[in-house]
Symmetry: C2
Subunit: 702 residues, 2 copies
């Protein structure tokens, strides 16, 4: 049994703060529990000890004749701590705290919330909230929530599990799902997440046999490791997770911070984590439900190859555009399949979409042959059939129904989707065959894409071998030279360079390297050398090298008198190759994340940069490179020779391992540029920012 | 009266090919006309002359006792030409041809279709189709179509006009609109468009007093000028046009070509034309209807500043993200408004979104004060109110209804949108107040964005002054030097350069310009000089200039022996500034379109390029520059000084005028690079490709 089973599906429940007034939360919760067929024992707790809404009550959980599986606490905030203690003493160890007035209101609420976490931790208790909405399990008749939705509608039982942080968000999701006839297995909203969070609930839903697909929504995330483990567990089980994370824009993130007091985090980081862990991110609640609707039939397409069979050329083109836009492919029908199709419908147009036109002289049964020729001929993952208004016509429907049923039966692992205006009866009949039905063509395509890529991402997440983190190291932080020495030791190629503390040394070093050389000021206090004029390129001869040494020191002293100067770095002048940026940023929630992008304006103008969790495997390093559009330049651009992609991938792997090994001491590493050449690659500059110390050093220097 | 009035709203109609068999198209059309309350006179035409479906018929339109306003032709394809002649002879000059079997099937169908166009043109007749679906005007009970939708549903009267090329596309649009309770003014599908096209129908709908908003969908466009005029007419009238164009991807375009035989055209060009002419392009049928739904209330927001008032923090963040993603702004409430709001609801969070939380101790009437403080305080264009499940609760609804009604009344030119799960009665009550209601938060935001930018685009289209095209010129086509001479004459700055036909001349020219210089081979037959090694940069002295002349001729002769060589161009070496590409491409449908992008990889890797119709006004040139993301580099990048944007805008204007003047002789002009400097800008290279001759010249040379 999962450790949260009693929370999601209690056999008996106490309502602490049950009220006789149905306008109060404690009254609403009790009414919802008693009204919808819940067969478990319900124990209202009310100080008076008198009957509440006609049910006997007890003044305290300690007075109960048995230990309920779980408790819902709906008391005013200042009373919640004591009630939680009482629950613990009674032995109720899975609790939902629906009371508000905690961290979301700031001030004292924050301290009160922290106290709840301490109480639970002391007693080995787990709880959702405070400020939670509760949970529902329609098949059990369990509606442990004060959601106002239940005033007018009640979600039915089904296969979709919903876990959200925000209560209103969650109830909107299951309401919208219900209104289109989709059933819910369990739904829960975790509120302020002083203890249990959405990741814990996903973990439960993965194990829950009644749940086929998981819909989740986060506003923030405090424990990146837990979220990753829950999503990877879903991937391992092959159970789709369709997820949303709000706060993706600056305005949204600001609003999220206001609302939940939790860090919205860098949206691209969380996007990366979702993808790596196999969770498919939906762009709207409606899209999340559309995808869950498709996944709930229990199969996802084995490939992104789609066939479009359409009564209308125009709608066929619309769907073709949408497929390409969503990353799906439309393989043209091979000649034998096309020949067979034209035998059935001589006026059929196109090779995919196949436009049968609305003139069906052979009748609707022609779709049986055509659709199967398509599926088999191009080995498709999905056939989408656009059938205009046939979904409203019960008289004409049977031959179409038979055609689609045969297609479904003969290709049991492929997806078949019908798009048409329709009545409920026809929709239900197709759904019973395992065929989702949509009215809007574009939404159908996006849902197919979601189901497809949900599977692709989970497959990739499963395939990723576990990566052993390197043992932690101690790092001597300092200037560019020490940074490069550390990176060289980690296996990243850097230029042969000389640290020079006198003009004489600089001249000798330059002569040893051969002219021209590059000279740079060396100081841990000057992380951005160009800003102080601290770099000289194309230093052409011995005299220039001597003068360059003095000039760099002059500039540095004038720009930043307090900086400790460690000397001048003399390096060979390098040309050619492609300038890239490789780096690592330690995310406060998700740990070290590797970054890759092109040098120049690509990163800043076009945000053409991608992230991946450290450490990288070679496969993940390749995927990271491919996620950057400008990486096409590595293949050779306009006739120039291809560059050493392998060397780049290796440097990314080495850097990622380095970052994990130094996770405790490093905030970020930036190698900018890392030059990728025809053979090999090389770090031309490097900056390592230590954790904590970094901020202090800057504060001192400025 | 509009010239197509009798087509859209005939007072009497002939059905040529009326059939007694309701399974046949001619039977269906007659049944639809006679079944839904059409009050006009209906004249079935059937060779037999016997009653059809109980209605008297005539063997030929020539036998009719009067001249009907219009005719619907549903005969087999080979009989249509004769029937069209007969209609003309009778004086029926507005006809819809629903018969298929023409250009869409290729072969003889193409010739038959051309013949129809000739007949009509001879008689001053206008017609839709062939292969059209017909038209409907629900308020008139007129359903002149064989659409199978009418078997089960009939669109009601309303304010939305629909014009599409594809019949199924059109019927899907009005079916989907109808199912959510939206009414249709007129709808028409133009089929193969041998004569009338969607642009003609838009032109009608702009003048149609019964239509408030126009939904249109194109697959191709053959007459760019007509489309522009129709859209600009709508902009002038302030009547929103929400438009779709399918075939935006290569796969989609291929399917479109198959379907309609018309050129899908460059999607970015049509996108540019829509935008310039004030038409808002929707991404899906559902989005088109959502936007039309908002526009149909008869007002569009005066600005893109949105306020979000929400019962749920999480949904507020979701909508905030969606607003930013859609280009809308969320101005934070100014201090006085915030103070007033906190007086009403002390626990309200955020400054926009305003999260009132679900704990409404003041009751739902608090929204009256809060929403008005928001609208007034930040001078918003729209307030979106997220009200969870209150749209399902008739008991609790009245105070919310009063709040929203007061907001609407006190700010009659601003948009108010409600987002909530809801029942029909509540939706209808809010719609009666002029308040659109959505269930999905993201769709609501996108619809608000569509309505807002539809207005913004139409305003800009109205504001654009008419541009007088320059008189046509004769152009001497040829090599880079003649191209630059032509451009210099047109007012575009080019480098001082010398055309040299001997090494001696080259040396002298280089000395006169001062070293270093650039030398380039000059030949109309070598449009891409770098491919043959035809450019030498950094030519440092007289000897190198002499040798360079010979070297360039050698390379050109070796790479392309057949090329006629006009000599060598000697130009000063220029450094610094920002390399851009400016060009003009003559689109076969829309004429000369100006293109702007950055040099380097930005255009090719990131497609960071924008188009505008030639000729440009200064305002449009500025907008064109701003449409390119990389144009931020003009402001000065990382401390470098700003560049001469004005000079760039002027060059774009001059080039656009040049292109219009030479429209008959030029296929394209590319100035690559056009260097924008701190002061001024300058064309470093230029290529003019003549129309027709271009292809021939290339064929000869290769």
């Amino acid at each position: 049994m999962h450790r949260l089973e009693k929370l999601f599906r209690p056999g008996s429940i106490a309502v602490v703060g049950a009220s006789g007034d149905p306008a109060k939360l404690g009254g609403r919760v009790l009414r919802h529990l008693t009204s919808f067929g819940y067969s478990g024992r319900i124990f209202p707790i009310n100080l008076s000890g008198k009957p509440v809404q006609g049910h006997p009550s007890w003044p305290n959980v300690l007075d109960l004749p048995e230990v309920p599986d779980s408790a819902l606490i709906v008391l005013p905030a200042p009373l919640v701590g004591k009630a939680l203690e009482d629950c613990a003493e009674k032995g109720i160890l899975q609790v939902q705290i629906l009371s508000s007035g905690f961290a979301e209101e700031g001030g004292e609420g924050i301290a009160m919330q922290e106290e709840l976490a301490r109480i639970a931790s002391r007693h080995g208790m787990r709880f959702t909230g405070p400020n939670a909405l509760g949970s529902i399990s329609p098949a059990d008749g369990f509606f442990g929530t004060f959601s106002s939705l239940l005033d007018t509608a009640r979600p039915g039982p089904g296969r979709i599990g919903v876990a959200t942080q925000s209560g209103a968000y969650g109830s909107h999701v299951y309401a919208a799902a219900s209104f289109r006839g989709l059933g819910i297995s369990r739904a829960i909203a975790t509120g302020n997440e002083a203890d249990l969070d959405v990741a814990d609930c996903i973990d439960y839903l993965v194990e829950d046999a009644g749940t086929t697909v998981i819909c989740a929504a986060l506003e923030g995330c405090r424990d990146g490791g837990k979220l990753r483990r829950a999503l990877l567990k879903a991937a391992a089980a092959g159970k789709p997770v369709i997820i949303m994370k709000v706060g993706s824009t600056e305005a949204g993130a600001a609003a999220a911070a206001t609302h939940t007091g939790s860090l919205a985090g860098e949206d691209r980081i969380i996007d990366t984590v979702f993808r790596e862990c196999g969770a498919y991110r939906a762009a709207s609640i409606e899209e999340m439900i559309d995808i869950a609707y498709v996944c709930a039939i229990g199969l996802r397409p084995p490939s992104g190859d789609v066939g479009i069979l359409t009564l209308s050329g125009g709608i066929g083109v619309l769907m073709a555009d949408a497929c390409i836009g969503a990353g799906l492919a439309l393989p043209p029908m091979p000649a034998p399949a096309m020949e067979a199709i034209l035998k059935i419908q001589p006026v059929a147009g196109g090779r995919n979409p196949i436009d049968t036109t609305a003139q069906l002289n052979g009748g609707l049964q022609i779709f049986e042959g055509i659709s199967q020729e398509m599926m088999r001929g191009a080995d498709l993952g999905t056939v989408i059939a656009y059938m205009a208004h046939l979904g409203r016509n019960l008289e004409r429907f049977p031959p179409l129904e038979q055609s689609l049923a045969a297609l479904r039966r003969n290709f049991p692992d492929r997806l078949v989707v019908a798009v048409m205006t329709h009545i409920e009866e026809i929709r239900l009949r197709l759904e019973a065959l395992g065929i989702p039905v949509f009215e809007d063509p574009t939404r159908a395509v996006r849902a197919v894409a979601g189901a497809t890529f949900s599977r692709v991402l989970q497959q990739a997440a499963r395939a990723a071998p576990p990566v052993a983190a390197a043992p932690p190291l101690r790092l001597e932080t300092g200037n560019e030279a020490t940074a490069k020495a550390a990176l060289r030791a980690a296996g990243i190629p850097v230029l042969p360079e000389h640290v020079c503390t006198s003009a004489e040394e600089a001249r000798a070093a330059a002569e040893a390297l051969g002219f021209p050389v590059v000279m740079k000021i060396l100081s841990a206090d000057i992380p951005h050398k160009t800003e102080v004029g601290g770099v000289l390129v194309n230093v052409a001869d011995a005299a220039a090298a001597t003068e360059g040494f003095h000039e760099l020191l002059r500039r540095a002293r004038s720009a930043k008198p307090s900086a400790r100067l460690d000397g001048v770095l003399v390096a060979p002048m390098v040309r050619g190759g492609l300038e890239t940026i490789i780096g690592v940023q330690r995310d406060p929630v998700f740990g070290p994340m590797v970054m890759f992008g092109l040098g120049g304006v690509a990163v800043e103008l076009f945000s053409d940069v991608a992230f991946a969790t450290a450490p990288l495997t070679p496969v993940r390093a390749e995927a990271l490179i491919d996620a950057v559009r400008g990486a096409r330049l590595l293949q050779g651009w306009r006739g120039s020779p291809p560059l050493d992609r392998q060397a780049l991938a290796e440097a990314l792997c080495r850097l990622s391992e380095f970052a994990v090994a130094h996770e405790d001491s490093i905030a970020s590493v930036e190698i900018n540029p890392f030059l990728v050449r025809e053979e090999g690659g090389i770090a031309l500059d490097a900056l390592i920012s230590p954790r904590e110390e970094a901020a202090r050093a800057t504060a001192m220097a400025d």
